[in-house]
Structure formats: C-alpha cells, structure tokens
C-alpha cells in the first residue's frame, strides 16, 4: 500500500474481443500516481482510452492486467471498500429518472452506511449547498441538465469521498452549468480532495489541473504540470503541446484502435 497516493495505476491494461474487429486493446499499460489534494487531468481524443481507464479505476470494469488502487485500496481485491472511498461523476449524470433528488441521495446515503439524523443532516447540507431545496422532491426526469448535474455532484459527495473521478463532467452542459462545475472542482481542490478529471476541453485542463496526462491509443504519452509539458515539447499553448505529443506518437503507434494484436 502506498499511503500518500490517492490514485495509483500500475501497468493497467484492458483488452476485449470485438466480433468484427478482433482483439481490441483499449488500454495498453497505463501508469498513474496521483497525490491527495491534487487535480489531475487526463487528456485525449475520443476513443483514446480515457473512459475505460477511469471505469477500471472506479472498479466498474475489471482490468485485463495491472493494478489499480484508490486511497491505497486495490480495486480488484476489495472493490466494495474502494467504492466507499470514491465519488464518480460523468457528463451523463446517471440519475434514476423516477426517483426524486432527495430519494436519490437517501438511497445512496443508506448504502454508503449513513443513517438516521446524520444522513438527513448531510442531505439537507447538500441540498442547501447547491440550492436544490425548491425542486428536491420532484422527479429527476423532470429536471434541467444543470439541475441534474447538481444532484449528481451531491450524490458523488454525499459520503465525503477521498477521491473524485470525473469523466468529462462538462459534456452537454451550457456555459453557466459548466462554469458551476469548474467552480465545484476548484472547491474540492481547496478542501484537499484528489480529483481525477478526463476531458478533451483543453481550457478546462489548463485552468484546473495541477498535472496533466496525455493519453493516446491507450497509452499515457506525456505526464506533468503544464510548465513541464511546455518545457518537454517547446510549445507555449496546451493545444500545441497536445498536438505535438499526439502527432509525435502517431508513426510509432498502431494507428487504428481496431488493430489486431499478434
């Protein structure tokens, strides 16, 4: 166990069989070491392996190879404990449409071991924090995208997790809702929570992330602070940094994600 790392991945791989394309290697050996209180951005194009990596870290998918730890807990050996220390949020929110925000929070709270007055206090606190009281008893399916995102954030924070994994959290959000999400991430950094964020919006990464990893064809090609990446590539803007790293890797990489392994 590595006590000072909130998220750790060593040689993480995921491959699967596609009936049409044969064996697909979605993630080809990702190594990550993210400290507590750090905001880490995983940048990559669509299909680069970001979501698969995050889902393995969150114990939703079993890795084909490698080790993943959340707050020191091996997600393969003890997935339930790993999930207790984790808050996961995606752009699709994943809310049960026919439950109300209050019922959703109560459901997740109970299953995370909260109960009675403590649970109700925590729910009230989050409803107040995100200004949700007025619509907390209407069904989630009737909420706006921004309201759903607030419920989703509250659900991820309910059990006060040590690690937050956010999979393209601003996808589909309007400007105001995106801005609110960015403020939320900044607030979590201030509170010392480790945040792992996947995005392809480079401005978000520039603004939020302490360190950035660029993933391409299932491999992390570059990793460091913005300054370190600028130094490594000689580029000033993150967009240029990204292009240089990705294009430099293209000839060496197997261009098609559907390439069959030997």
């Amino acid at each position: 166990m590595t006590s000072n790392l909130a998220i750790e991945a060593v040689g993480l791989k995921k491959s699967y069989h596609d009936p049409k394309r044969g064996r697909i290697e979605a993630v080809r050996g990702v190594d990550l070491a993210i400290r507590q209180g750090e905001v880490f951005g995983l940048l990559g194009q669509n299909g680069a392996g970001k979501t698969t990596t995050l889902r393995m870290l969150a114990s939703i998918l079993p890795p084909t190879e490698g080790v993943a730890r959340i707050d020191g807990i091996d997600v393969v050996a003890d997935p339930i404990e790993a999930r207790r220390r984790l808050g996961f949020l995606s752009g699709s929110t994943g809310l049960y449409p026919r439950l109300t925000p209050r019922e959703t929070l109560r459901h997740f709270g109970v299953l995370h071991g909260l109960e009675g007055a403590e649970l109700e206090r925590r729910i009230a606190e989050l409803l107040g924090l995100f200004d949700m009281e007025a619509w907390a008893d209407g069904r989630c399916e009737a909420l706006s995208t921004g309201q759903r995102q607030k419920v989703s954030i509250s659900r991820a924070l309910l059990h006060d997790p040590a690690v937050l994994i956010l999979d393209e959290p601003t996808t589909g959000l309007d400007v105001l809702a995106s801005s609110a999400m960015i403020e939320f991430i900044e607030s979590r950094r201030a509170s010392g929570t480790c945040v792992l964020l996947s995005t392809h919006v480079l401005s978000e990464a520039e603004r939020l992330c302490d360190r950035i990893g660029i993933i391409h064809h299932g491999r992390v090609l570059a990793c460091g602070s913005l300054g370190e990446l600028q130094h490594q590539t000689g580029e000033e803007w993150l967009e240029d940094v990204f292009k240089r790293v990705v294009l430099a890797a293209e000839p060496a990489a197997e261009l098609n994600t559907g390439a069959k392994s030997k």
Binding site: S15, P62, I80, E81, R98, L111
Partner: protein, 433 residues
C-alpha cells in the same frame, strides 16, 4: 449494512421506481384490473344477444312413440312440449322460477312437433342424423318416463334440451300429483316420472371445478410471466439505456447484492400482477356467473381460500424463479428492444410447459414435480381441487428453489464479468467502455 439489508434497500428503490413507471403500472396493475371486467362485459353482451336470438329460434322435436300410449296422454305431451300453458293442472305451473322462464316467455320459444314415429333410442339417433332431422327426439312416454335424445354438436341440440326439459319435468310433476290425488294418497306418495336427457351427466360443480383447475394454473403462470416481463427488462437493459447502469455498479455493495435486490423487486411486481389478476378475474367471473344464473347457466363453483393459502408459497417461489431467469436473459441486453427480443422467445419455454401441464389426465408424480413450470401447474391444479400430495409438493418447491438459485448464480456470473473481482470463468467477449 448487511448484504440482505442492502438487497432490500435496492429492491425498495427498484420498486419505487417501477411503480412510478407508466408501462409497469399499465401491465402490472391497470391491465389486470381493467382487462377482466371489460372482457367479461363483452362476454355478457354476446351471451345476451345469443340468448335473445335463441328465444325466437324454432326448435323441431321428434317424438318416438311406444305402442299402446293413450291418445289423450299423447295430446297432453304434445301440448306440454309446445309450451301450452293449459297443459298442466298443477297449481303454480305458470312461472318457472328454476329455469327462469315463464309461460309468457315460452310463447316466445316456439317448438314444432314433427310427425311421430315408432321405435326406440336407436331409431331416435338415426332420425337425428337425418339431414332434415329434428333438433331433439323424445323417446316415450313409457311407464317410467321418457328419454330426450339430442346431438350437442348440432346447432340447436343443446337449445332444444334447455327448452324442453323444464317443460317435461313440469308435466312429470303434474302427472305425479294427479296420480296421487286420484289414488287418494298424499302429494309425495308417488315417485315422479323420470325425464332424462342423454347428455353429459357430470354434476355442474365438478365440471366447473375441472374447468377452473384446467385454466387457472395455466393463467397464473402466464400472469406471473406477464408481470415480470417489463420490470425485468427495465431493471437490466433499461438501466443501460438510461445510463444508470454505472451508477448502480458504483454502489458499495457486491454485484450479487445488487442483483438480488433487483430480482426481489421483479418477483414482487410479478406477484402483485398475479394477485391482481386473480382478484380481478375472481370478482369478474363471480359477477358474470351471478348474471348468468338467471339464464339457466348455473355454472357455480367455490374455491376455498385455504387453497390459495397453500398455493401462495409455491407461487412466490415460482415468481422468484421467473424473475431470476428473466434477469439472466435480459442481463446481456443493452436496450429495451434487445431485452424484449431476448425475453420474447424465453416466454415460450414457460408457456409450452404450462399448456402441457394443463392437459387433462396428467398427474403430479415425483418425476414431474422436478420439471419446472409443469410442476407448478400440476401442483396448483391439485391444490385447487383440494388434493395435497406432500412429497410432490415439497419436491416441486425444492426444484423451483434450486432452479431459482441457479438462475441467480447465472445472472451474477453475467454481472461478474463487469465486477472488480475476478470472475470464476474468463469472459472475453463484450464492450469494455
């Protein structure tokens, strides 16, 4: 929180969600409540139309006379068959309370008497078979009474018997009372002449019980399937389609716990649908029989509530088995359409044994008690008839439980491939992200 408590919590959320779903409410609650009254209303209307037409239909009756019958007696018999109100001398002959018809009504139920012939029952059957033959033939009268011969496969055969039998019974009663009076005896001193119709002589109650035990178990199986169908898809493919699958997988409980919670919810909804179906059907059929009683269709039966108490545990196990099996088949589906495509053919595997189990003559043996679905139908049938075979009943329950647990295991296995823990079988197909 214990795994069982977590399962109950998940089942609670699933039930809450399902009961707020319009489609689930339609299939599990509204359909059973509305279907039977509507269907039976239609049946009653059709019945009334048919009865109305029957009232005006002419029935042709043949008479095969025994030699030596008194002409006066023949005349009186002919009057009785035609429904002549003056044919009877017995007080109160007018309105026929039992049959629901009256002298006035009889005038609307015309009977044509054909020219009599000589012979016996053999001749009567031959006459019936003729192309222009009568609808029924009365063989007699003899000293002990008469026999009404008819062919139930001919359109008006049953109608002829329904119309003629009460008239002949009235005449027989009048003759009995007259005979007693002429001999100076009491009103009940003589036996009545026997008027017999050559037809199925099984008591109405037995026939009703047979019909009920034949249909209800099969219907209960179908009701359970129908109740589980939509919730099973909603809890599996529906979650993927709505994008809540990952949310559920992120709960800090084992995948088997999630699955058990979902199965409990689906089984509860299946039971709810079955219960509502049985209730709605019972009330509607009871109401229908009450309406039809006045029309002579006195098909009455009663199922003791203890039969349903005995059925309940097996019905619960069956609902659990159905829910688990459906979850296995729907668990691979990514959309509702895929879920429906997966569960559609599966239903045949339930329907066909259910229909096979409803075949008359098939008995619940220890071997059949181990055959899923057939065992439930046969056990339900026995229990409805008031028969209890403890060994077979226990075997059927054990078989269902084992199969349900196997189905849960199978469904868990499908989920295991997405579990953080290593599955006991390496599953390599499927989408990773």
């Amino acid at each position: 929180m214990s795994p069982f408590s977590a399962s109950l919590r998940i089942a609670h959320a699933e039930l809450l969600s399902s009961l707020r779903d319009r489609m689930t409410m339609v299939y599990a609650v509204l359909l059973p409540l509305a279907l039977y009254p509507v269907l039976l209303f239609v049946v009653v209307q059709v019945f009334l139309v048919v009865r109305g037409r029957e009232q005006h239909a002419l029935v042709r009756v043949g008479l095969i006379e025994s030699s030596g019958a008194a002409p006066a007696g023949q005349e009186r018999l002919a009057d009785a068959l035609r429904g002549d109100a003056n044919s009877g001398t017995r007080p109160g002959t007018g309105p026929d309370v039992d049959s629901g018809s009256t002298s006035g009504a009889r005038a609307l139920e015309p009977v044509e008497l054909l020219a009599p012939r000589q012979g016996g029952e053999v001749e009567a059957r031959a006459w019936l078979a003729e192309a222009d033959g009568p609808d029924a033939v009365l063989v007699g009268p003899r000293a002990e009474g008469g026999v009404l011969v008819f062919d139930s496969t001919k359109g008006k055969g049953e109608l002829a018997v329904r119309r003629l039998l009460p008239r002949l019974e009235d005449l027989a009663e009048d003759l009995r009372q007259e005979g007693a009076r002429d001999a100076g005896l009491g009103a009940d001193a003589l036996d009545a002449l026997i008027v017999e119709a050559r037809r199925d002589l099984a008591p109405q109650e037995d026939k009703a019980a047979f019909l009920l035990s034949f249909l209800l178990p099969m219907l209960m199986v179908m009701m359970t399937l129908s109740g589980a169908f939509y919730p099973a898809i909603d809890a599996t493919a529906g979650e993927r389609e709505r994008g809540t699958h990952d949310t559920t997988l992120l709960l800090p409980v084992a995948r088997s716990t999630v699955l058990q919670g979902k199965i409990l919810a689906v089984a509860a909804l299946a039971m709810l649908a079955t219960l509502l179906n049985v209730l709605a059907m019972g009330l509607s059929v009871g109401h229908l029989l009450g309406m039809l009683k006045g029309g002579g269709a006195d098909l009455q039966f009663e199922v003791p509530w203890t039969a349903f108490v005995a059925i309940a545990p097996l019905a619960l196990l069956f609902a659990f088995f159905v829910a688990a099996t459906m979850m296995v088949f729907a668990s691979r589906a990514k959309t509702f359409k895929e879920g429906q495509a997966a569960l559609g053919p599966l239903q045949l595997f339930f329907y066909l044994p259910a229909m096979a189990g409803a075949l008359p003559g098939l008995a619940l043996t220890p071997a059949l008690a181990c055959v899923p679905v057939v065992n439930v139908v046969l056990a339900f049938r026995d229990l409805l008839k008031g028969r209890v075979a403890p060994l077979e009943y226990a075997l059927a329950a054990a078989s269902l439980l084992v199969l349900a647990l196997l189905a849960v295991r199978g469904a868990t296995w499908f989920l295991q491939r997405e579990e953080g823990g290593r599955p006991w079988f390496a599953f390599r197909r499927g989408k990773a992200a």
